[in-house]
């Protein structure tokens, strides 16, 4: 199995918290998309022998490019790669781009899942985040998408903003739970260097998100969704039974993926690589092959990845895959694991070592405690 990720590096306007790679200069769109098709063709052998079971258009804002562009990219993939019969094809879409005609053409192009960037249902928050939609548009977009048959879609939410009250967050989650959507990804607002938000905070124009609010909101998120029958299958991901995302799960299971486009990440043959995060450099450097950097994983890297990713998921760490690296996590960390299993942070079922509901709150800390140092 394998995945393909396509990074569409264009946005209408910049959200204040965002540190993904994107450009608001849309003039190079055609060139970049053409080159992405080229890159897809060029890298086909990286997934030789693998069946592709997920294609994901991320960004940036894939919903602002023409549906025909999307169709052409999918066609290129279909021509070059071996596709699985059960194929998930996701497109990230901003609510203000979702309308009935577009939905139809996406469907025709082969998209069967949308990832809708709702982020918040608080209009003040949406405004200071500089999102291009309001809460009303967001709800309408979700409704429309479901109505048009995109019932496997997901929505993205952000929490941890000091100005969002507990009640507001509870109300948001109630809406999410009841609206008919079957998948949610919810992320804690973080302040990344170089973003407009970090600048505003430095100047004192915005209150920085604090730990307390973040963990409070996270607690509410987990409680509300789980008690409504959602499956909390990764730190930030929730699905109604049967609706887990193939694409996200592939990342955590260390299944190979080819990422094309500026800023896209790839993983195959024990190598992680990332394309330059600049549309201009991507265009200029593609021809001489210097448009990406890469890292060959060492044994330590692999072990640490397995630990880090496994602890974030409901499945847990596959201890056999660690044994396959000649690493016995129980021999290495006997006392630690014993005490964490005893105090209810971890559980083990002979194959998988996983965080409990309580332990998932500390997945990073436990991961770094269990890391191997080279």
């Amino acid at each position: 199995m394998a995945g393909i990720y396509l990074h569409i590096p264009f946005c209408k306007q910049a959200c204040t918290y965002c540190d993904f790679h994107f450009s608001t200069n849309l003039s190079t769109q055609e060139e970049v998309l053409a080159l992405m098709r080229e890159e897809l063709r060029f890298r086909e052998n990286e997934l030789a022998g693998e069946k592709v079971n997920t294609i994901y258009f991320g960004g940036g804002t894939p919903s602002i490019v023409g549906a025909d562009d999307i169709a052409r990219l999918i066609q290129t993939i279909a021509d070059q790669y071996d596709l699985s019969d059960k194929l998930e094809v996701t497109l990230e879409a901003n609510p203000d781009d979702i309308e009935i005609v577009k939905l139809g053409s996406w469907k025709t192009a082969g998209i069967n899942r949308l990832s809708i960037g709702v982020q918040s249902l608080n209009d003040d928050v949406l405004r200071w985040m500089n999102r291009s939609h309001n809460s009303k548009q967001a709800k309408e977009a979700v409704h429309l998408a479901l109505e048009q048959g995109f019932e496997t879609s997901t929505i993205d939410l952000i929490y941890g903003m000091p100005e969002m009250s507990e009640q507001e967050w509870i109300d948001t989650l109630k809406y999410v739970s009841d609206c008919g959507i079957n998948h949610v990804s919810a992320y804690n607002l973080t302040v990344e260097n170089g973003t407009v938000l970090s600048h505003q905070i430095k100047k004192g124009a915005r209150i920085p998100p604090d730990d307390h609010t973040g963990s409070l909101h996270y607690g509410i998120l987990v409680d509300r969704l789980e008690s409504n029958g959602w499956d909390h299958y990764e730190v930030s991901n929730f699905a109604k039974p049967g609706f887990r995302s193939t694409h996200n799960s592939n990342y955590w299971s260390r299944i190979p993926y080819v990422g094309v486009g500026p800023g896209a990440h790839s993983f195959a043959d024990n190598i992680r690589r990332w394309n330059v995060s600049s549309n201009q450099h991507y265009l200029k450097k593609f021809s001489d092959g210097s448009y990406f950097e890469s890292e060959q994983l060492t044994r330590t890297d692999r072990i640490n990845e397995i630990i880090m990713l496994g602890l974030r998921t409901a499945i847990g760490i596959d201890t056999y895959s660690l044994e396959a690296e000649g690493f016995s996590i129980f021999r290495e960390h006997e006392d630690y694991l014993k005490s964490f299993i005893e105090n209810g942070m971890l559980e083990w079922d002979e194959t998988y070592l996983r965080t409990t509901r309580k332990g998932m709150y500390f997945a990073d800390r436990i991961a770094s405690d269990l890391f191997l140092v080279s």
């Binding site: 307390h212 930030s236 993926y257 890292e295 880090m308 709150y361 770094s368």
Partner: protein, 596 residues
Amino acid sequence: MKHIRNFCIIAHIDHGKSTLADRLLQETKTVSERDLKEQTLDDMDLERERGITIKSHAIQMNYQHEGQEYVLNLIDTPGHVDFSYEVSRSIAACEGALLIVDAAQGIQAQTISNLYLALDHDLVIIPVLNKMDLPGAMPEEVKDQIEELILCDRDEIIPASGKTGLGVDKILEAIVDRIPAPKGDPNAPLKALIFDSVYNSFRGIIAYFKVINGEINSGDKVKFVHTGKEYLADEIGVLRMKQEPRKSISAGNVGYIISGIKEAKEVKVGDTITHTNDPTKEAIQGFEDVKPMVFAGIYPVDTEDFEDLRDSMAKLQLNDASLVFEPESSMALGFGFRCGFLGMLHMEIIQERLEREFGMTVITTVPNVSYHAFVKGSEMVIVNNPTDLPEPNHIDHVEEPFISAQIITASEYVGAIMGLCMEKRGVLKNQVYLTTNRVELVFEMPMAEVVFDFYDKLKSISRGYASFDYHPIEYRDSHLVKLDILLNGKQVDALSAIIHRDKAYEYGKKICVKLKELIPKQQFEIAIQAGIGSKIIARETIKAMRKDVTSKCYGGDITRKRKLLEKQKAGKKRMRQVGSVEIPQSAFMAVLKIND
């Protein structure tokens, strides 16, 4: 002997001693233009980087004057108060001193203290008004100050500049004309004073000496009177830019001896070298041992590096005999050493040398002075580590070291400085107007109060217009208590402090607040308490961390996330554990940052 002159250069810190020495070396062609750099004699990396002299440096020059060839032995000395013992040793090998005064800054605290050291040894003083090139130079005013201080004629003061070379010829002439040739009997039995020693990894310990009487020859059988040890003088010579071997060195002159000495202990600065066969009758009265003023624990960050640290400290001691240390252990920090330093700068330098020259990473605990605890019905106990203070009910009383502190400042800052010193338990002993605008204040105060947060405060309240010098006077009874820090009820021994009772509350409160800042949240609540005996006087709480997992959208960027966690792991490895609480290294120095 008539044609030898031995002199040192003394001054307040940064007044330009080493730069002026450059000019003398240049003028006498002791150093080739190619080898000359700024502060040529400051040859340690740390000296060069920090731009200060840490160790005295001796060098010999030749100088022609009125048709005569003279040998000039120069010793450049450090200005910082921590290293004043270096100045006193150097002075003992000289007949004269260049007293350098910065023409823009005037007389400062170490100008006076170093001058007195020189006068105590009856040295001839040549006053030099340096940095005349500076636009802010105030030659007339500073000449007034000098005249008043050393009671000399105004025209004895030589205006000079280490930058432009102004006055260098006059200084060389004055050295020959004003400083007397050494007195001594070249025919008497050998008597030479060891005034310094250095360690060379290839050649072992090299001792620097000045011959008072007699003559020493290469190959002689010699004896170090104080240690009683006998050696063969494998190599003797003079100190030029490089050491230059000589057949013999006779009365009045300065040289070095290499005699296969491996152990630093065998060479006591201040000892007398004489011949085994024909020994001198009266040995030179040696120097007092340098006494460390502040103590702190030094621990390896990685507990497995203890033996490496021991080796490194021992090697460092060969270079720096003023460093003292003995092993100790701490519940919080494991095995390490309690070290004695000459002052805070010295402590900083030792720590830096350990890290740079020996590749050690260490945790240094909060420094303290040495206390005398008088136990009821028993003898006095020296307490160099707060945890060694006996139980309160066994103690009759505790004494702490007091210093006499001289502060020279401009009159407008007198009020603020008095306030500061009084807050630091100081008592004003004297106040002298050196000129209408310059005041010398003398306080007696506990040394412990100078260790923390004194220099910085002094500097800021005087806008840098205050210089400070001190010397220890005596131990005095003080109302001192031991303040302990507890984390979730477990005492952190390395954070205990001995403190005056009246200050304990404020201090306890502040340190708890600081620790709250420095100790990261953990999965459980952490109570930070400060207590005296069983009484808790301050408390802060670090709330439990509710979550430690990033739920950020990182797409397929696994590498970045893994590296972040690896970094966290590395950081955690450097933490120490007390009970279940993890403490970062920075917390052990928290007290030093208590007012930030």
